[in-house]
Symmetry: C2
Subunit: 159 residues, 2 copies
DNA sequence: ATGAGTGCAAAGTGTTTGCAACTAT
DNA sequence: ATAGTTGCAAACACTTTGCACTCAT
């Protein structure tokens, strides 16, 4: 059930997300509500495990599997986005239409933190690859790896 | 045991690799030899599982674990490189000093094939991120995802 | 001979699936 | 009422680890 999302109508990302669920005939369950609340309460990028941990504080009886399924559904509706990393889990956050701040991600190999980077960072690469190989780069679900300035200064190993 | 690699002395990547092993006091075992032969015989990018399959044709009694350990050792010596993908396994190939053809990788989300792309594809992004955030992008071990021209034409879903 | 390398079993992560029970509509 | 959701257990894919045994040096 793929769909598009409307911008936040003013009631905050949670109610905006719930409205989208309703509009698509999806049920509004405690699990989905909790996931929206968790992601709406932070600008961090959370792993499924972290979402579960915080969601339990809201709903108390949620299962890990349910979190994965809620994240999947919300993702299909365009409410939630995820980034994959080379090692370790995927990280989730509200998608740009809800937050209004599109961005890409990089991840430090040493401290493992996710950093937001400008949405147009890879535009040059996208254009080049389209022109030379006809390959359509989809850059938003993959975090490139590297060393943040702090870890590089500390002599961190590239891994 | 991190090390640097010498260019191929003319005897092909396998003997060059063996020379590097010796130079570093690493043992030259059937497993390591087989892995070098497998990767030296193709320009494809192989998963550990595929390396195992082909290596068994050479040596007959190798274990999956041993392949992972051989790939790790050869990687530390700079002989073998790997790329991570969003879903699915990592893919291995001889590193540029042995093959003489440096490149990066992208992967089609539909047909799952790995494609080589120019080594300088992300230079602009690397420079921008260094200048604006002091972040050192290490782009060589991560395959960006996308749609190859064939699968895009066929209406493939971005997944 | 001796310690690095191997085979095997087992565990470890992160994620998905099958199915009966539940609940939002 | 009833289909969509959930909880649980179990499987899944990929990779790593512990330990006794073997073989390259």
């Amino acid at each position: 059930m793929v769909g598009s999302v409307a911008v936040d109508g003013g009631g905050g990302p949670v109610s905006a997300g719930i409205a989208v669920l309703r509009r698509h005939g999806e049920r509004v369950t405690p699990a989905r509500r909790a996931v929206l609340e968790v992601l709406g309460a932070t600008t961090e990028h959370l792993s499924a495990e972290e979402v579960l941990g915080r969601a339990l504080a809201i709903s108390r009886s949620l299962h890990r599997t349910t979190i994965y399924r809620a994240l999947e559904t919300l993702g299909e509706l365009g409410l939630v986005t995820h980034v994959h990393t080379d090692h370790g889990p995927a990280f989730y956050h509200l998608s740009a239409p809800l937050t209004g701040t599109p961005h890409l991600h990089v991840r430090c190999r040493v401290c493992e933190r996710i950093m937001d980077v400008p949405a147009d960072l890879l535009d040059d690469a996208v254009r080049r690859l389209r022109e030379t190989a006809g390959f359509l780069l989809l850059v938003d679900h993959t975090a490139l790896a590297g060393l943040c300035s702090g870890c590089e200064a500390a002599g961190g190993h590239p891994g």
